[in-house]
């Protein structure tokens, strides 16, 4: 197992190099260069200042050297300083926000799993029935509804009309004065809407997948064997079928990482949650290139890690893969 994990991690290295190449290319192939922004906005910046800035950022060097220097800095997590007025290190800006986004996405994944597992299995065991059809339509509607629209409706209903939930931010103003339990409650009240709404869009993929997967398994011989030896149908489905249907879910969860991270841009912007998505959005609006670069690379790396975890998880739970992985 350890050997397999090591091999998978080593295989990530070329992918990481590729990610940095694409990120670099996207930024450098664009017309104009990052110093334009600083100089164009400042009428006092003359040609001299422009040249000096280009030197500072290394833009006067040939492109492969620029890439190499950037890569060397990246390896030390040195992403430079933000262009925004606070001039802070990009590394600090990103890493102080990362835990919030990760926590939100993990919570969304947990909700998606909690809903889709029973839903998909239930629909599959009664394929073609009323429940199957209704649940299919409902998850499709959830998938088709734009998350920012649901967020707006939620803010209007639960925030403006009913006044049950706060509509923005992570904590209330008096957060520091609260006790530990009240702090937790306050956080949950702020995060309930963003987490639930961002998980709605993910229901369709997983529940449909589970349904078709379970349908396939139900037809297999080993389930007939289980029935033939007298197991009640309940056990046949919830034990034998479920276990086999569950395994590929890990892969789907891994694949849903980029969508969730991308979606956090919208959710965090609407609900004013200080996470990675909001930072990225603000960086895009302000053309804060160092932060955009950092966010882009980090987004891809997170996806890569998601895939790695999914692969390792797969190897852990599926004996067929596990055994070949040991070899």
């Amino acid at each position: 197992m350890l050997k397999y994990a090591l091999k998978r991690i080593l295989l990530m290295i070329p992918a990481l190099v590729g990610i940095t190449l694409i990120s670099f290319a996207v930024m450098r192939l664009a017309p104009g260069d990052p110093t334009d922004l600083v100089t164009n906005l400042n009428p006092q910046a003359g040609q001299q200042a422009r040249i000096r800035l280009r030197e500072i950022y290394g833009l006067d060097k040939p492109i492969h050297l620029q890439y190499w220097n950037w890569l060397k800095n990246l390896a030390r997590l040195d992403l430079g300083r933000s262009f925004s007025p606070d001039r802070r290190l990009v590394k600090d800006k990103i890493f102080e926000r990362l835990p919030i986004t990760l926590a939100l996405n993990v919570a969304s994944l947990a909700i998606i799993l909690a809903i889709t597992l029973p839903l998909g299995l239930w629909a599959a065991t009664r394929a073609g029935g009323v429940f199957d059809r209704v649940s299919t339509v409902v998850v499709f509607i959830c998938f088709a509804a734009p998350s920012f629209w649901l967020a707006l409706l939620g803010m209007w209903l639960f925030g403006a009309r009913l006044g049950w939930l706060p509509t923005s931010g992570l904590t209330s103003l008096n957060f520091q004065t609260l006790g530990p339990w009240d702090k937790f409650l306050d956080l949950s009240r702020h995060l309930a809407m963003p987490i639930i709404i961002s998980s709605l869009g993910g229901l369709a993929g997983l529940s449909r997948y589970l349904r078709s997967n379970t349908l396939e398994i139900i037809r297999q011989d080993f389930l007939n064997t289980a029935r033939a030896k007298g197991l009640p149908e309940r056990l046949v489905i919830w034990k034998h079928a479920l276990r086999n249907a569950l395994i590929p879910v890990i892969t789907i969860l891994g694949l849903s990482v980029p969508g969730l991270i991308g979606g956090s841009v919208i959710m965090e912007s609407i609900y004013a949650i200080p996470g990675l998505g909001q930072l990225f959005y603000m960086a895009v609006m302000g053309r804060d290139y160092p932060v955009i670069m950092g966010g882009l690379v980090l987004g891809a790396v997170l996806t890569l890690m998601g895939n790695l975890l999914a692969d390792l998880g797969y190897a852990l739970v599926d004996p067929r893969v596990r055994d070949s992985a040991f070899r």
Binding site: A15, A30, F140, I141, A145, P258, Y281, G299, L304
Partner: protein, 282 residues
């Protein structure tokens, strides 16, 4: 003929049929926009600001600048259609080209194309698209092109897989034995047989592209004002959430109906074209 049979099966599926009809209706609405739209979508009437639905002359109310919501919805359908066609058309072309080359040539070229594909899939598309939009100017054309450039991977993988399996079939071997050129084999024998699944992916892709465009327009990075788009209309709705709920309701419903219809149609096509199901039913 597999293709016609597939279409027939799709039409027999009630949900897919419904989706198809709504899509057709949308085509008609956007084509007839100048005729059926009750007002100029950008005509402002300052005296009639934020009127609720049911106001005489303004069936779905007016926005904060006194523009007719229904007219803006109708004209907004044009943008969503355009996005669907341009973005998905571009993505499908790129995917077809790369997938065909990878599947037909195999070897090193195949490996390179597929690794590139894997890498592109690593980037959250929202991040990639936002990055490019930040470098270029936010405009609806940029958005469409960028969505196209970042969503071809599914088609490429699919076409490659179809090609690999088709190339082992007898009719392709026969064509090859007759000395048909690579171009001819690809155009006449491989591509037509791979089009079913590509059509499915493209239909579902339209839904995704419309959602993405509306998100970007909502964030202010898509079509620029005063162009009426559903996403941008929702941005406005956000500013008047407490006073004018209708501004936040209708554009979202329009997006929901459109995306849902394309998805249902796509799923119907998928089920109809899936040889797995055909074997089961037959």
């Amino acid at each position: 003929m597999r293709f016609r049979e597939g279409l027939k099966k799709t039409l027999a599926n009630r949900l897919a049929l419904m989706g198809g009809l709504v899509v057709l209706a949308l085509f008609a609405v956007s084509w007839l926009a100048p005729v059926i739209s009750p007002h100029d979508p950008n005509q402002m009437e300052i005296r009639l600001r934020l009127r609720p639905p049911g106001t005489p002359g303004h069936l779905l109310g007016t926005d904060s600048m006194g523009r007719d919501v229904l007219s803006r919805l109708i004209w907004g359908s044009r943008i969503s259609l355009k996005v669907g066609f341009v973005a998905v058309g571009l993505a499908t072309l790129i995917g077809l080209a790369l997938g065909a080359v990878a599947g037909y040539r195999g070897g090193l070229i195949d490996g390179l194309i597929m690794r590139f594909c894997d890498l592109m899939l690593c980037f959250p598309s929202m991040f990639l698209i936002l990055t490019v939009i930040a470098i270029l100017e936010p405009s609806i054309w940029n958005v469409m092109v960028v969505i196209g450039l970042t969503s071809w991977m599914g088609v490429a993988r699919l076409v490659r897989a179809e090609f690999l399996s088709l190339m082992t079939r007898d009719f392709v071997l026969a064509a090859r034995a007759q000395g048909a050129s690579a171009c001819r084999i690809i155009w006449r024998h491989l591509l037509p047989n791979a089009m079913g699944p590509v059509l499915v992916t493209a239909t579902l892709g339209v839904a995704g592209a419309i959602l993405m465009e509306s998100s970007l327009s909502f964030l202010g990075l898509g079509a620029q004002p005063p162009t009426p788009t559903w996403g941008a209309m929702l941005t406005e709705g956000k500013d008047h959430l407490a006073r004018a709920w209708w501004l936040s309701l209708y554009p979202g419903l329009a997006i929901l109906a459109t995306v849902l219809s394309y998805n249902l149609l796509g799923e119907g096509l998928r089920e109809a074209f899936n040889p797995h199901n055909a074997a089961r039913q037959g």
